[in-house]
Structure formats: structure tokens, C-alpha cells
Subunit: 430 residues, 2 copies
Amino acid sequence: MKSKRKNIAIIGMGNIGSYLYKYLNKNRNILSKKNNCFPFVKFISAKNIRKKRGFSIPKNKWLNNYLEATISKDVDIIVELIGGSEGPAKKLVFNALKNRKHVVTANKALIAKYGDELSKIAEKNNVNLEFEAAVCGGVPIIRSLKEGLIANKIHRVFGILNGTSNYILTSMDKQNKSLKTVLENAKKLGYAESNPSSDLNGEDVSSKLKILSSLCFNAFLNDNIHVEGINSIDKNDIDNANKLGYKIKLLGYAELINNIIYQRVHPTLIKKSSYVASIDGVLNAVIADGHPVGRSIIQGEGAGPPATTSALVSDISSILRGNIKFPFSISNKERKKLKFKNISERLFSAYLRFDVLDKPGVLSNITNIFSKNKVSIKRLIQNPIINKNYSSIIIITHASKDKFLNKIIKMINKKPYVIKKSKLIRIDEN
Amino acid sequence: MKSKRKNIAIIGMGNIGSYLYKYLNKNRNILSKKNNCFPFVKFISAKNIRKKRGFSIPKNKWLNNYLEATISKDVDIIVELIGGSEGPAKKLVFNALKNRKHVVTANKALIAKYGDELSKIAEKNNVNLEFEAAVCGGVPIIRSLKEGLIANKIHRVFGILNGTSNYILTSMDKQNKSLKTVLENAKKLGYAESNPSSDLNGEDVSSKLKILSSLCFNAFLNDNIHVEGINSIDKNDIDNANKLGYKIKLLGYAELINNIIYQRVHPTLIKKSSYVASIDGVLNAVIADGHPVGRSIIQGEGAGPPATTSALVSDISSILRGNIKFPFSISNKERKKLKFKNISERLFSAYLRFDVLDKPGVLSNITNIFSKNKVSIKRLIQNPIINKNYSSIIIITHASKDKFLNKIIKMINKKPYVIKKSKLIRIDEN
């Protein structure tokens, strides 16, 4: 093998870009020895050259116009670390691929939205579009699905895909604190961004799940997805779950059942003794069920500059070795447009919580509504709220169609005895 | 990308070879679409063409002399499924690489013994030597270390690397049965081979650990390894561990401390609440600690034809894509001959068990020996054995040098009050 060299442009110099740049400078020799090709950071561009980063960027590396990287003959690989599904990130990646540059990106929003179009350009131009860093940071799940588990027909992929929300749920449980208090803390510790809405409302998990689902099922990206976040989970839910032997986790599930895709993101009650319940703090874990391999689990740090750099460098190395791959594991010509169904007809057992006035007849009215909707009750707990004239009624149902569970919530929410929006949290009995 | 074709010779047609052959016949189209190269089984060879396999092998594919595959111009990839570190397997793989054939093997004994020599030939001849299937079957650990986690400096890799012994320990615990009874059962279920000695005595884990250690530390294979198996673990040990809040697992550890390699395989007491304790039955799990990624965990089916085929096909696919790699992650020129130390100076807290006559002065004599060897006792339990005139004394020590723990065992074993060989099981407090 003759040693070669590939030039890299890093566009975007926030925490991750800075970490990556320093990493590549420090480790280019070992990477060169492992990949038989020398990675050289030729250009850097970002919003502001003068930003305090704790290190200086040589003038001859700086590009005033980041798009120059896409047309320079001296650039082989463009690392996009701008973020966001539109604007400069979109422009950069489209232009880069059109100009036959390999692209490495950590941008899940961009890939989840424009991945199909981008993948077609990459395939046509015989360049790599790599996005290991877009899904679960340091967990090498993309590479494992595309390469290590390539032999398998995967029918289900699920897991904890967002470290911030997992940290928050874990801390609410272990530190006995409210979501608000824990979130403030998470921001201080750097586990939550100043605007954590996409972590809390499930959008971040949704983007990652769409990408995984597409990879696992050899299908085009599918925008139909049921998304709920953890915004409405409160300390009472966590305590109730605990008493019932469960933990609450924000889970993403993509399933292929009779050639129909189901995608869902929602808080889930999961048995304390289960593997997923043991994934605490900022950790991520992805579980893939496939044939012939059975169940595979990959777990690790989900975010942060070090873990993300690990993923970016694995992508860069793959390009250095000339390991040309279809971005979504299979040629775009062969990717399928699979049918989608929403989860309304799926069966779930569920935790329902009704905060209601302590009046005669309320419980009977509620159980009557369950009975009319043919949802059978497995367990019912009525907790009077001390010093207040209302109760919290917790009902665990047997497996029931999702649409009926939702209908019950809607019907009961209209009742005058309801003092707080009722809740539905699905249970995973695995 | 222009579609190509690569011819495969499968040598060895036991359970795994048969499964792989059928898998490749059934899935060659999808593999071809994913890798842009068509995998075609050109030749097959095995000890006996007439063996009952439930399917027939076309005559034009059969090679009477398996070594012909190594010189045939029609062969690109040789899959070695003969097994054993010497004899035909060794001859096949050496010859194949010398004749510039890519090699895929599931043979851990061969790679652990001759991996360095083989790797040099592969590198010189610019062909792949792939052995994902040699370590933990369906768990894509080799590919993850070489590619997904390539950015990281790994300083510790450990885990449950043998499904048979893990199944036995799990069953002894859950079914409350003796090792012998459980082993018979495991054989019936196909979880243990008719001769399971290398699974029970730690040799199988030892081979896998040497390979992992070499990959993680960019070092040549190192034969210095401390190996103990599970042969002497009995039901009492399992029960004692349980009462103390531990499970017993057979663990392999490779650690790089101050540029010195430590490799050890031994039964270990591990906290019930720990992740590793949750890996039950035939599952395998590998944990790698590295920088910058932190801790990564990969878990899955460790053995059996389906899981092993998943690994073999990932290796074959990598070759189909032309992803030429150094067999041990880095050029042989760059691999280091690292210093090794045995574990005698390492500190472990440990579980020691002394089965002794119920006589006055025995306990005082034992504790006196501990004190003389400067091993301090954290916990002591004396269990009288009902209807017999002896006791089982369990001592949990504080962290002590391994050599002193062993010295205590030796000294006490010489005492006339000892009725059964004393035991030392190290504790992992993580």
C-alpha cells in the first residue's frame, strides 16, 4: 500500500469543530499509519475568526467564504459542523457533493430532512456522505449497521437516543427533583443547551430515528413519525412508575411489521430490571433486532465534543481508506418507499393518570368510560393528594388499541371533575 | 460505481460452513446491491462430501484437495472454517495469503497463535485477513475497534467473551444446579460442545482476549496471560456470592497501564447491580475504555451458526467493497512489542473460601496467616456445614497484592485442618 494524503476542510468551529481540529493536529501520524493515508487540515471556516477558542488558526488555513472549500482543488473532504437543516449547512453540503467532495457531517436535522437527495448526489458522484456523528455521538451505530451487521435483515431498532433527556429523567428520579430544577442544573453542567427544546420535545430523537430506520429497512427517509417529548413528565409520574416497578425513559422505536414501517418517539414505562432501564445519565444505547444475528446492543457516550470527534474521525478514516459506500447502506435505486402506518391500531398497555376532584361518582364515571371503550383495567391506584381536595388516579391497562387509549384521555379531559390535563404513557413490557 | 464480482471458496462444511453457504446463496443479490460487488461461492471443500448436511453440494463446486483453492485463479476470497491452530487450517491460511487471496476466518486459536506472521504476509501482499467471527460471534467488536472507534486510544478492554461458560454460570445460579448437571444440559441444547474443555478452562477466552488486546493497544500478540477457568466453581460459591450481593462471571481483562500490558482471564465476583452482571446466558459483551470516546459497550449473541455467519458476511462484504485494511488495525511496522507484567503485584480485593474441620484454633490460625501477609479482612462469614463436622469460612479481603493472596491460599492449603482445596476468586468492584 502506497501512502497517500487527503486534504480536509472543517467548516464550523464551535466546541466540536475546535476539538476535532486539535485532535487531527495531534493524531495525524497515528491516523495516517492506521489508514495508510495522511489526513491534513487544509482549510477552516466559521462565522468568526476572532472568536476565543483557546488556540489560534493559521491565516493560510482560514477561508473567508466557506463555500470556497467546495470548489477548491485542494480539498478532498469537507466536514460540516455548522448545524441546522437549512441555510449555510444545507448550501455547503449540497455544493460539496455536487463538486465531488466527500462529506462528513454531524448534522442530524439536515440528514433527516435532505438525506435522500444528498445520497443520490453522493452516489452519482462516487463520493462518501458520512454521518456517524449525527446519531448518538460516540456510539458507532451507523458503521455497525452498515458494515458490522450488514448480513442482517433488521426488523426493529430502538433505544435511548438523546443524552440530555435521559440525564434529566435520571436526575429527576435519583435526586428527587423537578424537571425545571434538573434542567437548570443540566445547563450548568453542559448536558443541556441554552435552548434545549428539541431535546425535550422529542424532535432530536425523531431525526435520529428516521435515519436509523432508513438504514435498517433499506428504505427512503420517512417523515411519518409519532413524536412526544418529556415536557409533561413530572415528579409524580416518576414516583408512580417507581412504585409500580418501572422507570420512565424517552425511547425511539422503528419497527418493520409486515412490510409496514412504524416510527414512534415517546416517554415509556420500562421494567426496572430491563437492560434499557439501566442506561442512565447522558448515555445512549441502541438495540437492533435482526436475522440471523439476533439482538445486538451498542452503548456509549451520546454527545459532547470528545465522543462526537470519535465518530467524525471514524468517518474521515473510512474515506482515507477509500472505503466508498452507499450513504444509506444500499444503492438509492434499491431503496424502497415503504408503507407507513400511524400507531392508532397498535396495541399498548399504558399508564394513565387522571388528576380529579375528590367527589363521589368520579371513579365510577372514569371506569365506565374505560369499559365503554373496551379498554380493560389491570391495576388502579387512587392517591389522595394530602391537604387538597383532589386525587390522582393511576390506571394501568391491559394491551389496548392506541386510538382507544387516546379517546379515553380526550373524553375524560372534557369532564368538569378533571383539574389537570390527563396523561397517557405507554408501557414496554419487554 | 461499476458492479463487480468476487469468487469465494468455503473450506470446512460443519454447522457454520453449511449455514454460511446457504445464507450466501439466498442473499447474494442483496449483498451485491449493498457492496456493489457480487459474492459468488465458486468452490467448497471439506473432509467429506457425503456428510449429511440437508442440502446437496453441486459437483462443479467441490474441491477434493482444499489447497487447490489457494492457487486457483478463480478464487478471490477464502473462508477458512476448519478450526484448530495447526494442521490443515494453518496450511490453508498461510498458503492463501501467500498466493494473494483474501482470507476470512472464524479461527481464534489460529489468529491468537499465528496472527502476527499471517498479518505480515497479508500486508505485504495487499490482501485482507479478516477475523470478526473469531471473537464473540455476532458482536461486531473487531470492526468497531478497527473502524468505528479508530479515533480512540483504548487503555482497557474487558468483558464476557465465552457464551458456554456464561450459560453454565447463569444456569447454576438461576436453576440452583451443579456445574455437572448444567453442563450436561448445555450439551443437549447445543450451547456446549461435546468436548467443552477450552470453554471451561478459560483457553477460549484467552485466545479472544489476546486478539482484542493486540488490536486495542496496537501491539503484537502477547502470549503472557493469566488464565483460570470455571472448573472449580461450585454451587456454594454461587450461593455465597449471591448472599454478598455479587454474581460470578468468567471475565477477560486486557489493560494497558504505564505502557505495560496486563492480560488476565478468571472467574470474578461482580456486583449484581453492575452492567456486566446483567449479561446472562449465552450472551457476550465487550467493554472498551478509550480516549476521547469514554466507555463503549457492544453486546450480542456470542456463538452459533447464525451469529457467526453475520460476522463472516460482514468480513466478506468489507472485502467486496475493496476496504483494504491492516489486519491488526495498524501496519505491522508500527505495531509495538509492549512490555508485559504478570498480575502478582496488582491489587485485588478477593473472595477466599476455606473448607476446614470444625476445631478450636482453626479460625485464629487462618486470621493469623492473613495478618502475617498483611492482607486485611473486610468481612468474614463462617458457615457450619450441616450434619458434617466442618465449616466453610468465607473471607472478603480489602485490596491486596495478588501474590499475597495466593501465598495465603498456599500456606493454608498445607494445614492439616483443610479438607478441600481453598479458593481465591477476585472481586471487580466497578
